[in-house]
Amino acid sequence: MENMLKNYIVQIGADKAQVVLCKRDGSILFDSHYGKRDHFLEVMALIIGSVSATEQIAKTMSVEKDSDFMMSFANSSHGIFAMPTASSDNIELYVILMFENELNPAQFKIKIRKICQYLLENIKLKENKKNLLFENITDDEIERMFEGCKV
C-alpha cells in the first residue's frame, strides 16, 4: 500500500505537500515525510480531532455529507485540507494534505480528491486479526520498556 500510494502522489504532483492517511480513530497508516517534521504527532492529533469534531458538528446540524465534504484551513499560500474517504474494502479514512509557500493552493483541493478516489478504487486494508501478538508479558519486560524513558 505504501509504495502504491507514494507513486500515485508523485504521479499527480502532490509530492510537494505533506500527505497523511489515517483511520478515523487517528492511527496513521501513511505519511509522505515531506516538509516540516516538528511535533508531527501533536499536529496530527490536533488535525484529526478537528476533522472529527467538524464532521460531528455537520452531523448534529443534519448537514448532508456528500463525497465533496472537505475541511479546509488555508490562506493564499499555506494551509491544511482534510477529507474523509474509505478504502476499497470500506475502512473509513481521512486524507490530510498540508502545504506551504504555494502559488496555487486550490490545485491541492483537486489533488486530495484524486487521492481519495484512488484509495476508494485501489487500496484494501482489511486484516483478519486472529492471533495475539504477545503472550505472557512479564512485569520485568514492562519495567524494562519504561526504564529508558525516565528522566
Binding site: 480513530d25 492511527s27 504527532l41 469534531a53 492471533n131 514492562i142 519495567e143 529508558g148 524513558c149
Partner: protein, 198 residues
Amino acid sequence: MSFVNYNKKEINCKIVYYGPGLGGKTTNIQYIFQKTAGDRRGKIVSLDSDNERTLFFDFLPLDLGEIRGFKTRFHLYTVPGQVFYEASRKLILRGVDGIIFVADSQMEKMESNIESFEGMLSNLKEQGYDPSTVPLIMQWNKRDLPNAVSIEELNQKLNRFSSPTQEAVAVRGDGVFESLKSLSKIVLMNLRTNLSSN
C-alpha cells in the same frame, strides 16, 4: 487504534484517561511529561480554557522502549471531565486501546464518579465496544485527602468489572506510572495481528 507496523517493527496504542471533572486526569499526564526524558516524549497538547479546564483533550505522545523487538509508542489522551462535554468524550474514545479511569476518592465526588463511569460505558457501547472487554485500570486518586472514602466503597460502587486498581496521589506522582505500566501490559497482551506471533 492499535496499529502494528511490521516493516518498522513499531506498535502504536491509544490510551485514554477518563473520569469526572477535576479528578486529576490532566495531572496524570503532566506528571508523566515531567518525568520522561525529552527525547522519549513529545509536547503536551492541551486544548483548555483560561482556568486550565480541559475543553477538548490533552495529548501526549510517548516513545517507550522496545518489547520483544518492537518499538512501542503510546498516545495518551485525556477527556474533558465536565458534564456538558459529552460529545468530545465520545470522539476521543474512538479507537481506544485502554482506559485509566481516574476516580476522585473524596466522599462528595462519588456521584460524579458514578455518573462519569456510566457515561463511559454508554459511550464505549456507542463506539461499538463491549465495555467489559476493554483494558481498564481503576485509579483511586486523591488518597491523601482526609475525606477520602474507603477503597472497599470505591470498589463496590465503581469497579463493575473487577478491573485492576491503583491508589494514587497524582499531584505527587504516586501511582501515576504504576497505573500506566499496569495498563500497558494488558493493552500489549490484547494486541491482535494477522500474522502468527511465533
